[in-house]
């Protein structure tokens, strides 16, 4: 059960749960619950992005000498997701269920295909190439504050 992929992939599942709980609450008009769930979701995503952007991606880039490649695509998708987080936050603030549903649906597709690319490819590559560093990398990712 060790390895970078097995360490990072469960973050995706955890965030999915908060995502659906927030969406369900927003569609029911239970705005406080929606906000609470969304905040869990956002914190989880930001934490996960930080682990990747400050530890995993630089390690991958260093060992492959590949910048402007896959990690660049991942970073760009993180930026696109952050934009949608803002849209969702705004929709929550203005209690606009339609705007929330639209932003959430857009995020869902972006996020799921992003996770798929990471789990099917990037994490596997990292597991192959960063075997020796993996324990140290995980320790560093664990040290990042929520």
């Amino acid at each position: 059960m060790d390895g970078l992929g097995n360490y990072l992939a469960p973050d995706h599942r955890r965030c999915d749960d908060y995502f659906s709980a927030a969406e369900a609450a927003a569609l029911q008009g239970e705005w406080e619950a929606a906000e609470a769930q969304f905040n869990h979701f956002l914190a989880g995503m930001q934490h996960h992005f930080a682990k990747e952007e400050t530890v995993l991606f630089p390690a991958f880039e260093q060992s492959t000498h590949l910048t402007g490649g896959p990690t660049e695509v991942m970073r760009m998708e993180h930026a696109q997701m952050r934009g949608l987080f803002q849209d969702m936050q705004q929709a929550l603030a203005s209690r606009d269920a339609n705007a929330y549903a639209g932003a959430a649906e857009t995020l869902l597709i972006l996020m799921q295909q992003h996770n798929l690319k990471e789990e099917q490819m990037l994490y596997r590559m990292c597991d192959q190439m960063l075997v020796r560093e993996s324990a140290e990398l995980i320790a560093r990712m664990n040290a990042i504050a929520q």
């Binding site: 369900a24 896959p70 972006l110």
Partner: protein, 424 residues
């Protein structure tokens, strides 16, 4: 390296995938229109010229057209294998596939031998180009998963289907003498069960859990189902050719349980979904799975009921449930995820300053998609009734079906138009 496919510059322009998704609904509309104008005679038997033509407007023009584009979209995500020269590939596949399908359908509908013959090189070219391009990507990827395996098998099935189809067309045009009836059965089975069925099964492994956050399909399903199904199809084909009386036992024990198991597994995953928000794509998928169950069930009953298997409506029901109920529903649902997302993604990269970019539900509103879902469901139900009582129900069925296809075409086109307005 597999991951080299994941780079920024390689995203092809929106027109590359979208031309397929824009054309596909038009072919479905043509099929519905053909039925409307042919009237009850179209449903007289599975061999009626109008029905054979409509079948290919759907299987080649709608289903194969959109499945090819979906596959080309999914390869980079799943396999890290971006297609090289996407614009060129799109031209080399889309134009001959469209022209070839139109010619083949006209040839079949009107008994026009020259049209049929002229369609052959075009279709052969489109198939060959697509198969080579996709096979090249699939052969090079280091990613291993059940979907990629299913895609490989589906591609093999498409090659077999195309070869058999080309042979059949040559026979009909009077240029080959072979047992056409058996070949037609094989051709239809490889097309519908192999290419369409196996690809949908493989794609389902990814998209069913993705959009509704269901649990994943059990690995004992994903590891075995597509290869099992493909091998059974091979054994079944050999049996049909040399020992036809025994073929039904292969289908009974090998093919039908696989299909029923897949449909039940999918429905039960959907029941365990963590995402509760209503989702139109998933409703289309449920309609698709219900049709798949109905088709398999009717087929099973017919094996033991001579009355049913001799009924004129029986083969029509199988075809309608499989093509319109199963394949078209599933693909139709997928279009409502893929098209708005592609438009959003391309707007995003055209206009990095955010704010004015509509989200996917503003690109194709749920209200419009739901309306089309209802029309599609009504069309399917009416088509099944029309198979039993063609006169006068075929007119109603075809008219509602025309409306459904036109709404789909309109929804996809509106998304494209929005892109042009905002990207300009």
């Amino acid at each position: 390296m597999a991951l080299a496919g994941l780079s920024l510059e390689q995203a092809p322009p929106l027109s590359v995938p979208l031309r397929f998704f824009l054309t596909a609904p038009l072919f479905a509309f043509l099929a519905a229109l053909l039925l409307l104008f042919s009237g009850p005679t179209a449903l007289a038997s599975r061999w009626s010229p109008a029905l054979l033509a409509a079948t290919h407007l759907l299987t080649l023009g709608f289903i194969t057209m959109s499945m090819m584009a979906t596959l080309l979209q999914m390869l980079p995500v799943l396999a890290g294998a971006a297609v090289k020269q996407p614009r060129l590939v799109a031209w080399l596949v889309h134009v001959p596939l469209s022209a070839g399908t139109l010619l083949l359908a006209s040839g079949l509908a009107a008994g026009w031998k020259i049209g049929m013959l002229a369609s052959l090189p075009l279709l052969a070219w489109a198939m060959l180009t697509f198969i080579l391009v996709a096979a090249y990507s699939l052969a090079r990827t280091e990613a291993r998963n059940a979907t990629i395996n299913a895609m490989r098998l589906a591609l093999g099935a498409l090659a077999i289907t195309a070869l058999l189809g080309l042979t059949l067309a040559a026979i009909l045009a009077g240029h080959a003498a072979l047992p056409a009836l058996k070949l037609t059965d094989l051709h239809a089975a490889w097309g519908l069960l192999g290419w369409v069925g196996v690809l949908i099964i493989g794609v389902a492994y990814q998209v069913v859990p993705m959009f509704q956050m269901t649990p994943a399909y059990a690995t004992r399903i994903t590891a075995w189902l597509a290869p099992w199904f493909f091998i059974m199809l091979l054994i079944w084909s050999i049996t049909v050719w040399w020992a036809e009386d025994n073929a039904k036992w292969v289908a009974l024990t090998g093919l039908a349980p696989g299909l029923i198991g897949f449909a039940l597994a999918t429905l039960s995953l959907q029941r365990k979904r963590r995402r509760r928000a209503p989702d139109i794509t998933s409703q289309f998928w449920r309609m698709g799975m219900a049709s798949l169950l109905a088709a398999s069930g009717i087929w099973l009953v017919a094996q033991f009921s001579p009355a049913l298997s001799a009924a004129a409506f029986y083969p029509l029901w199988l075809g309608m449930l499989w093509i319109v109920g199963f394949a078209m529903s599933v693909i139709n649902g997928m279009l409502y995820k893929i098209v708005p997302f592609l438009v959003w993604l391309h707007l995003q990269s055209r206009r990095p300053a955010r704010g004015a970019i509509p989200n996917t539900k503003e690109i194709i509103p749920d209200k419009m998609a739901r309306r089309q879902l209802r029309a599609h469901g009504a069309a399917l139900a009416l088509l099944l009734c029309a198979a039993v009582l063609p006169n006068p129900l075929v007119y109603m069925a075809a008219a509602v079906w025309c409306v459904s296809c036109a709404l789909l075409a309109w929804n996809v086109f509106s998304a494209y138009r929005l892109y042009h307005r905002l990207a300009a």
